[in-house]
């Protein structure tokens, strides 16, 4: 009887303890990687390779996501606002939702799928084929060589991607606004920028930097700790994408709350 009641509690306790341990592990891993960023040598070549991978090769995916999101946003807000004759607010709603919220979140989610998975697979394969151990025997710290440049690259690349996403998203909204909803082009653009504040854009870019860090962190951590051959690497890849996606959405709330409070 007692066991029946206690069992779920024990399981819950184990789960909570496990989660705490993982969080602690990830935290220490992140701190170590950051400490390597502050101490030479820094692997510029690897940083640049990761940066191109994150920023340049994610561009098409992020661009398409942003354009379609801007277009949908214009249509939907028009439908909604037409019910109380507030169609003129469409442009500002589109730009504010994009810069504050949808740009950073959607771009980061797309990048999580591409980059989180790629980092986890690359580093995981290196782990299970002893290449990470080989680095150590070749006078190279694997955290400094593999993890630190990728973390920095993603943290810098994502705000840039989001800036592009903001611009293309607004363009998507403008396309629908002028060619379908009958707005005058100049008036649409004017009301886009009239109510836009620097804080809207900046808070979105800060979010993007945090999300970029999270995506790279989960990708590298899962890869670094993967075990057991191809299956282990596959598992690490899945975990990296799922965990970073959830963390992005959760942290998005936390960050919004912080910006909101100011």
């Amino acid at each position: 009887m007692g066991a029946l009641i206690l069992d779920p509690l024990a399981a819950l306790g184990r789960a909570v303890l496990g989660a705490c341990r993982v969080a602690g592990d990830v935290g220490l891993f992140a701190l170590e990687a950051i400490s390597h960023l502050l101490r030479p040598p820094f692997y510029w070549r690897l940083f640049w390779r990761a940066f191109v991978e994150v920023a340049w090769f994610s561009l098409p995916v992020v661009a398409l996501t942003a354009i379609f999101t801007g277009m949908v946003l214009a249509l939907q807000s028009y439908t909604g606002f037409a019910r109380f004759n507030a169609q003129s607010a469409v442009a500002s709603v589109v730009v504010i939702s994009l810069t504050r919220e949808l740009g950073p979140v959607l771009a980061s989610l797309m990048v999580a799928g591409r980059i989180g998975a790629a980092f986890a697979a690359e580093i995981g394969t290196m782990r299970v084929t002893d290449q990470i151990d080989a680095l150590t025997t070749l006078s190279t710290n694997p955290m400094k060589y593999l993890v630190a440049p990728r973390l920095l690259a993603a943290t810098i690349a994502l705000p840039l991607l989001v800036l592009v996403a903001d611009i293309l998203g607004v363009m998507g909204g403008w396309l629908i606004g002028t060619f379908k909803l009958g707005f005058v082009s100049a008036a649409y653009l004017k009301s886009t920028f009239d109510y836009l504040e620097a804080d809207d854009v900046i808070s979105g870019l800060v979010k993007a930097a945090v999300f970029g860090f999270i995506v790279a962190l989960m990708g590298t951590w899962c890869g670094y700790n993967s075990r057991g051959g191809a299956q282990g690497v596959g598992g690490a890849t899945t975990t990296a994408v799922v965990a970073s996606s959830i963390l992005i959405l959760a942290l998005d709330y936390v960050l919004t709350e912080i910006f909101f409070a100011q």
Partner: protein, 279 residues
């Protein structure tokens, strides 16, 4: 192309490096009571091993007996649960990280599966350690790699290929070139000839003996192949049930008088070693 000519041409005199002899009376590598368990499985159960400076030690043992784990413990890749590991009389497990890394700078390792970096071309793999230590520039690295590849009988053009484009035997030779390129003091070879044809195996053995002689290094090799063990080793040690159960001259393998070693060396089914076919 004649590989041995290349090798002779490329072998430079005076590559001895600083103080290869070590301190008199202190073994180069000394393990005492090294224990390591993975979960409930006690893999190493008090390993004691001495390797004298300049010697070539061969470690024998059944599959899964903990040979690779032993080497990884010495390299600092696996932290043992107990025991001490001394290199040149210094207990590496208790050294600060920086000094431990300094010792690691003088150690080379050939991994069981090669562990070549598949994102880098062969020449960068071979010169990785020299580049990492800033001993050569990237400009010099290609020539240096060509030299090192020639020593293992590979053409300079191999340097521009990626590891995935090489055959297993070529990968082993590139890995060997990488392990010795920085002229280490101590070299570990984990099954250098497994999976190669007998002739290539003999060639690799020859290369290992060559490299070790040329560098004056201390070598520890793992092998399952008795012919190879006699070729590359002066001394041999048998690991059995998590301990070193026998140490002796490599030449005596097969007629050592130790039942475990002789059963293993002669590949007999009956004897003190009972293969655990099911666990």
């Amino acid at each position: 192309m004649n590989a041995s000519d290349d090798r002779r041409a490329a072998a430079r005199p005076g590559t001895g490096g600083p103080d290869r002899s070590g301190r008199a009376g202190v073994p180069k590598i000394r393990l005492r009571g090294v224990r390591k368990a993975f979960g409930a499985k006690q893999v190493l159960d008090g390993v004691d091993l001495d390797v004298e400076a300049g010697h070539s030690m061969v470690i024998l043992g059944g599959s899964g007996s903990g040979k690779s784990v032993t080497i990884k413990c010495i390299l600092g890749l696996i932290e043992p649960d107990a025991g001490s590991i001394e290199i040149d009389g210094q207990d590496v497990l208790r050294l600060p990280r920086r000094e431990r890394e300094a010792i690691g700078d003088r150690i080379g390792m050939l991994f069981q599966n090669g562990a070549l970096f598949d994102s880098l071309p062969v020449w960068e793999n071979v010169c990785f350690k020299l580049l990492a230590q800033g001993r050569i520039t990237r400009g010099q690295a290609r020539d240096r790699a060509a030299e090192a590849l020639a020593q293992v009988g590979l053409a300079a053009s191999v340097g521009d290929l990626y590891p995935a484009e090489l055959s297993g035997g070529m990968q082993k030779r590139v890995a060997l070139a990488r392990a010795v390129a920085a002229q280490p003091d101590i070299i570990f070879f984990d099954e250098p000839t497994t999976g190669l044809d007998p002739i290539m195996g003999a060639v690799i053995d020859g290369l290992i003996v060559d490299c070790v002689k040329r560098l004056g290094a201390t070598a520890v090799s793992i092998t399952h192949d008795m012919a190879s063990a006699r070729r590359i080793g002066d001394m041999a040690a048998m690991i059995h049930k998590g301990r070193i159960s026998w140490t002796g001259p490599a030449a005596s393998l097969g007629h050592s008088g130790n039942a475990v070693v002789d059963q293993f060396a002669n590949g007999e089914r009956e004897g003190p070693i009972q293969m655990e076919l099911r666990r």
